[in-house]
């Protein structure tokens, strides 16, 4: 059995690589373009934030304490996020049954799923890179110390993944199935909200150059996080002989990974992963009671809201590019940036809502559209509900983008924000209907290029028109552009609903 182990590892790794490669090579040009755009955005964010943290670490009286607080915060986020990912990888992955019935040693199965957790966690890990880079640059580390810091970073993320997995394995044995699902939904949502709240907080501090307050507050935090292994990671860069810290991190990580492996091998049962069917007494009573009929659009709206709230990774994927773009704007613009920037940032938010949220709302419906088509006379209520959802999703983010640039918020902020949110929400959903990703028979394909071209055109025309109204100080141009955006959005949504209704499915 022992001799077989590396071979099964290798097979499972090859399987995952093959699936990733197949996914990559079947991406359309539009999706590739979008991926490159997002990578560029992430790169810009990284450069900006590294610069910010370089200055913050330079300004800090005690960079070690400051680093401890920052690294510790990411470590805590990492554990909770890893638990959320592990909940999917270990408990609800669709291949649980397939692999569970194959003669794969449980330890190899653990390694396979553990690396899956790490691969997913890497996204959050990358967000922390600017913190580490800023720290290292501020301390002018030599190459050897950089290598140690990188090793520390990798070990800390492995450690948080192992601890997250351990928590999940404990929770699925101890907590009732429905209870644990709710528990992980809530914690994952809190992580998403918490992480972005912290990043926004940094942005706000940096923008108003109130560094001393920030540094003081972070140093208070560092006192609370002194127990975390990230303290060793921060010390790697500054202490004279850091081998004790390296050893501490290696041992803590190895023990945690081994602990998680043992918990899986000895304690994990397939039936722990089963989702309970049938409801409790309360649910049965609810089902038996007569219920008011919902109109179709409201039923679809409620369904979309429930899906989004119950899938934190979906929410994360929707919100993160928007928040990143806001942060990049915030860091790159000066206080004197005027109205055109105000509209540009709002339109960028709308653009990403259309691209990420609205397109996805349509493409996820591939399998249910035939059913909806049979049961509804027209798809207009469905498109209306999805447009409404996308617009409501966009509104707070668009308003947030506007508020950052408005010293004295006036009607332009509220009316403009509403117009932009509704415009992009309806236009995005309409484009999803006009150029759907799914094909007859239920298969899906990548987002089609004409949809991208239309969206880019909409974005450039809207931004240019609104910016022009600011430059020329002609509010009527803004009113004209905004009403045009909403009208074009509504028209596209109507066209999209007709196109879907006429499509052979």
């Amino acid at each position: 059995m022992r001799a077989q182990r590396p071979r099964t590892w290798w097979l499972l790794l090859r399987l995952r690589t093959r699936i990733a490669w197949n996914t990559l090579r079947t991406l359309s040009r539009g999706r590739l373009l979008l991926s490159v755009l997002l990578l560029a955005l992430l790169g810009a964010y990284g450069v900006q934030l590294t610069g910010v943290f370089f200055h913050l670490f330079r300004a800090a009286e005690d960079p070690l304490a400051f680093a401890t607080a920052n690294f510790g915060m990411f470590f805590l986020f990492g554990i909770v996020q890893a638990a959320s990912i592990a909940m999917q990888r270990f408990v609800t992955d669709s291949d649980l049954e397939l692999l569970g019935a194959l003669p794969i040693p449980p330890r190899d199965l653990f390694v396979f799923r553990f690396w899956g957790v790490n691969a997913d966690l890497l996204r959050l890990g990358l967000l922390s890179v600017p913190f580490y880079l800023g720290y290292g640059l501020a301390l002018r580390l030599p190459w050897g110390r950089w290598a140690l810091l990188a090793l520390g970073w990798a070990l800390v993320w492995l450690l948080s993944a192992a601890l997250g997995v351990l928590i999940v394995l404990g929770v699925i044995r101890l907590v009732h199935r429905r209870g644990r699902a709710a528990f992980f939904r809530v914690t994952s949502l809190l992580v998403v909200v918490g992480l972005f709240a912290v990043l926004m907080g940094y942005a706000s501090f940096v923008r108003h150059e109130d560094l001393r307050t920030l540094v003081a507050s972070m140093q208070r935090w560092s006192g609370l996080l002194r127990w975390a292994p990230t303290t060793w990671c921060a010390r790697l860069a500054v202490v004279h002989s850091p081998w004790q810290e390296v050893l501490g991190l290696v041992v803590a990580t190895a023990l945690s990974v081994e602990g998680a492996a043992l918990a899986y091998v000895r304690g994990f049962r397939y039936e722990d992963a089963l989702v309970e069917r049938g409801g409790g007494t309360a649910r049965r009573r609810r089902q038996a009671a007569p219920r008011p009929l919902r109109p179709a659009w409201w039923a679809v709206f409620v369904k979309e809201t429930r899906t989004a709230l119950r899938d934190p990774s979906l929410l994360f994927g929707w919100v993160s590019p928007i928040v990143l773009i806001l942060l990049v704007f915030y860091f790159t613009q000066s206080d004197t940036a005027g109205g055109p920037t105000f509209y540009l940032s709002q339109n960028m938010v709308g653009f990403f809502v259309a691209l990420r949220v609205a397109f996805s709302l349509i493409s996820r419906e591939g399998e249910t559209f035939p059913w909806l088509r049979v049961h509804l006379r027209t798809l207009r209520p469905v498109i209306f509900a999805k447009s409404l959802f996308a617009s409501i999703f966009a509104l707070p983010l668009v308003l947030l983008a506007g508020l950052w640039w408005s010293r004295a918020p006036d009607w332009r902020l509220w009316v403009g924000g509403l117009g932009i949110a509704v415009g992009y929400g309806t236009f995005g959903v309409g484009l999803g209907g006009l150029f759907p990703r799914f094909q007859p028979g239920g298969a899906t394909r990548s987002v089609r290029l004409p949809g991208f071209v239309a969206l880019y055109t909409y974005f450039f025309v809207a931004t240019f028109g609104l910016a022009l109204s600011e430059v020329l100080k002609r509010p009527w141009i803004a009113a004209f552009v905004l009403s045009g955006m909403v009208l074009v959005g509504l028209w596209t949504a109507a066209r999209g609903s007709r196109r879907l209704a006429a499509m052979e499915l």
């Binding site: 059995m1 099964t8 097979l11 090859r14 399987l15 093959r18 699936i19 197949n22 996914t23 079947t26 669709s94 291949d95 049954e97 397939l98 569970g100 019935a101 194959l102 003669p103 794969i104 040693p105 049962r269 397939y270 039936e271 089963l274 309970e276 069917r277 049938g278 298969a443």
Partner: protein, 244 residues
């Protein structure tokens, strides 16, 4: 080849199997019938070692599913009711992965099974483009790759077109003649009547009857297997929430 001894399974406080005793001989084709929620899938999952019985014992190929789960997995081929396969692999790539796991070095075996399942034309398409019936045939090919001693099949002919169902039925007969033990569940009584050496009727976790079709009909004085099934189980559905 398969032996169940006072097998009991509870999900929380809900009973799924209540003291099932059964013996299936080598080379036999045994069909388990039962209404929804009777415990058929639970029983098959215990035999695959995916689930652990609450009490009692189950043996496959002479090995205890509790004490030697790895050895049991090496000897069985399993087809779930709804096979969850990797959509971003082609049919051929999926079978290659399974062949590697089972240490099947003979690549001709993959081609042979693809051809037998009439999937050779779709072999290089992604599994996500397959219909449910095609996925089922691909999963069955995967279950047969390593020539298992025992085949555990959950609804193997469900969602197959008549031609594909015939292919599967012929294949199962051949396998039994070659000495493979087949243990399957189905809702399609005609399939059971055509194929089974013996059938068992499971309801609410209890094995109500077991024997050759002719014996069952004679014992319960029924003209057809459907009549016998309804006489034994009634027309009502089984308890909810039992089957995973």
């Amino acid at each position: 080849m398969i032996q169940l001894v006072e097998l009991v399974k509870y999900y929380g406080r809900t009973p799924a199997l209540r003291g099932v005793n059964l013996k299936v001989e080598a080379g036999e084709l045994f069909v388990l019938l039962g209404p929804n929620g009777a415990g058929k899938t639970t029983l098959i999952k215990i035999l695959t070692t995916l689930l652990r019985p609450t009490a009692g014992e189950a043996y496959v190929a002479g090995l205890s599913v509790l004490r030697s789960p790895q050895a049991v997995k090496e000897r069985i081929g399993y087809l779930p009711d709804v096979p969850e396969l990797y959509g971003k692999l082609t049919g051929c790539e999926l079978l290659e992965f399974l062949a590697d796991l089972h240490r099947v070095g003979d690549r001709h075996r993959i081609l042979e099974l693809l051809e037998r399942m009439e999937l050779q034309e779709a072999a290089h398409r992604f599994v996500e483009t397959y219909s449910l019936g095609m996925r089922k045939k691909l999963a069955l090919a995967g279950a047969l790759l390593h020539r298992p001693e025992v085949l555990l099949l959950d609804e193997p002919t469900g969602s197959l077109d008549p031609r594909s169902a015939r292919v599967v039925k012929d294949l199962l007969r051949e396998l039994c003649q070659a000495g493979t033990t087949v243990f399957m569940t189905t809702h399609i009584l005609e399939v059971a009547a055509q194929l089974a050496d013996r059938v068992g009727i499971l309801d609410r976790g209890r094995l109500l009857a077991c024997g050759a079709v002719a014996e069952l009909l004679a014992e319960h004085r029924c003209a057809s297997l459907e009549d016998a099934f309804l006489a034994l189980t009634g027309t009502g559905e089984g308890p909810e929430g039992v089957s995973p």
